[in-house]
């Protein structure tokens, strides 16, 4: 039987936590619509909607692409 280590447990806990973010605020500052941002980063508009609502944790690549599109850094865009 495999006993989960404290590291495994913390990884599992992090996966359940959804990040908060400033995407909506920064998108408004850049005068972009959800559709335009979605097209810039290569996802569907619904994904931007879920990202802004904090209901979806993006991959590192998508987080990077959104940060680049909004001219900011990942750690400034997303907070745990």
């Amino acid at each position: 039987m495999v006993i989960p280590t404290p590291l495994d447990q913390s990884v599992a806990a992090v996966n359940l936590i959804l990040m908060t973010n400033k995407i909506k605020e920064l998108r408004a500052n850049h005068g972009l619509t959800q559709e335009e941002l979605a097209r810039k980063v290569g996802v569907r508009r619904e994904t931007i909607l879920f990202l802004e609502a904090g209901k979806y944790n993006p991959s590192l690549k998508l987080a990077h692409d959104v940060a680049v599109a909004l001219e900011t850094k990942i750690d400034e865009l997303f907070q745990f």
Partner: protein, 190 residues
């Protein structure tokens, strides 16, 4: 082409397929649906290339993975319940036992296929292929043991659950083998 137009093309292809299948059923010709499926695949493939919007992104792929896992679990549970119900009712109709066995093998086959695809993808995506091969060599004896056990169980099941008393068709006549419970079948023996 926009996403909505592409959805329209997909609906049109689905209608075309449904029409061709209904024609095939009513006329007994199965060439039309085969041609329709090939034509449909070509049309969808060409239409997809014309779409400039994103049709599916990482969130869709993640959801698709979850949906596949759920589907596998739901399918396995339904097949397992079906297996037990049909096996319990095999006295009412001996054919139920065959269907129950088919359910069991379908579930095992799907799980095996899922594991093989998973290990194939892991092997394909991993940069550390040597270690995965080492892992495989470690599990190989257990895999062989499991296959041998499955073979023995399959043979034992056939021997145990196949009725020995039955009607056998010999030279155009139904001849009793042992003392079958069922009445002599009418026709079907040539």
């Amino acid at each position: 082409m926009t996403t909505k137009q592409f959805q329209g093309v997909r609906i049109a292809v689905a209608i075309m397929l449904a029409t061709s299948v209904s024609i095939a059923v009513s006329r007994g010709s199965y060439i039309a649906p085969v041609i329709a499926v090939i034509a449909g695949l070509i049309i969808i493939s060409l239409a997809k290339r014309q779409v400039k919007d994103v049709l599916a992104d990482e969130r869709d792929y993640k959801l698709a993975g979850t949906a596949a896992r759920w589907s596998l679990s739901i399918f396995s549970i339904i097949m397992l319940i079906g297996f037990f119900i049909l096996f319990a009712l095999k006295d009412k109709n001996p054919e139920f036992a065959n269907v129950a066995t088919l359910f069991a093998y379908l579930t095992c086959g799907l799980m095996l296929l899922n594991s093989l695809v998973f290990y194939f993808l892991r092997y394909k995506e991993s940069g550390d292929k040597k270690n995965i091969l080492k892992d495989f060599k470690h599990y190989l004896p257990f895999l062989i043991l499991a296959l041998v056990a499955a073979f023995i169980i399959a043979i034992a099941s056939i021997r145990m659950f196949t009725p020995e008393d039955e009607w056998i068709c010999t030279d155009g006549n139904w001849v009793s083998h042992g003392n079958p419970d069922a009445a002599r079948p009418v026709g079907g023996c040539r």
